[in-house]
Symmetry: C2
Subunit: 195 residues, 2 copies
DNA sequence: GTCTATAAGCAGATAGAC
DNA sequence: GTCTATCTGCTTATAGAC
């Protein structure tokens, strides 16, 4: 099929989201203008509206894509393993995934307040589903007597916060590899909920 | 001394910072206008510039006040206590202090990227000094054989992230009191760095 | 110290030509 | 699909009257 000159829907579309991702992560949603995004993509500001109804949808779609990808990656996990194995898998996955996507993670945690109430609720629901897996692992471990956190819900929040915190300091050029970081955090997580 | 009509320097000054604190925490620095702050204080936008040279100084002073207050409160701690006692004191203090000042904490963590490079460096230096106390406690504990984290630096970051995370979910009307939350987190912290 | 008025510019979003 | 031009309204910050 012939293509109209200057028509790049399949190229420009993803580029708009990519530019928004990087710019929102670096400067914050409110501080980034549609004109900045357009400049980064290499089009005029008006052309962006062929790909998004507005700026809010740009933010929401970035967050939703991130959360849905996160859930997809946990969808086919091995639920027959022991709670200890499942907890280690979760902890290592969480660190690995978050360190691989620093921009998405940063936005997902920092820009929640810039979502409209409806969009906020949609993202929160996805987040709750992700946290539910960890809570279930801890609950199963308590039932089997291998874990003994004083409070399962608080332990869930504490473990997620601890693991996510790695994104605030980790630098690829630093003294530790991702694998080493995973191991160090896993040890702390394991001990923190142990009997 | 007679006061000029309409002159309220000693009242308006703190009110400007208070309004900025609340609005920045709620909507984000970039999303809040000087007009919004002025409206909240009850003056016209131009009058704000009697109290701050610009918007950036407003943000920086809020952050600096927060970090300096944090350090002040730790200045006269008991360094002769055991590492275990000092760690418990630090953990409980951190939670209590952060839950008492949700707006300051939120801004201090979310608005770092909106500081100028010089201001950012100044705040980071204060933050490093705060973290250094925890690192020192862990180091002393390792030397005495009561703590055994695999990596002291990572344990420092992990413990701070875990404790600070409480601000993301705690609500005063919830099922747990601050004291109970302190106790639950302290148990997890203690176990996570134990031998 | 606060006001009003204004400067100088950028914001999100849309219309219509090509 | 992208462009240019534009609408409307907002922004930070300053000047000068009171």
């Amino acid at each position: 099929m012939a293509r109209t000159a200057g028509s790049h829907s399949d190229i420009t579309g993803p580029r708009v989201l990519d530019a928004a991702l990087r710019l929102f992560a670096q400067h914050g949603f409110a501080a980034v203008s549609m004109r900045q995004i357009a400049r980064d993509v290499g089009v005029q500001a008006g052309a962006l509206y062929n790909y998004t109804p507005d700026k809010q949808a740009l933010l929401f779609n970035l967050m939703r894509r991130h959360m849905e990808d996160l859930l997809d990656q946990r969808a086919n996990r091995d639920t027959s393993a022991s709670p200890l194995e499942r907890l280690e898998d979760f902890a290592r996955f969480h660190i690995r995934y978050h360190l691989k996507r620093p921009d998405e993670v940063f936005i997902a945690y920092m820009e929640l307040r810039n979502l409209t109430p409806e969009n906020f609720e949609a993202i929160e629901e996805l987040r709750r589903r992700y946290e539910a897996e960890l809570e279930e692992i801890l609950r199963d471990g308590v039932a089997e007597g291998v874990f003994a956190p004083a409070d399962i819900r608080i332990a869930t929040m504490a473990v997620i916060a601890m693991l996510t915190g790695v994104t605030t300091w980790y630098r690829p050029a630093g003294r530790l590899s991702v694998d080493e970081v995973e191991g160090l955090y896993w040890e702390m997580v394991r001990k923190s909920v142990s009997v």
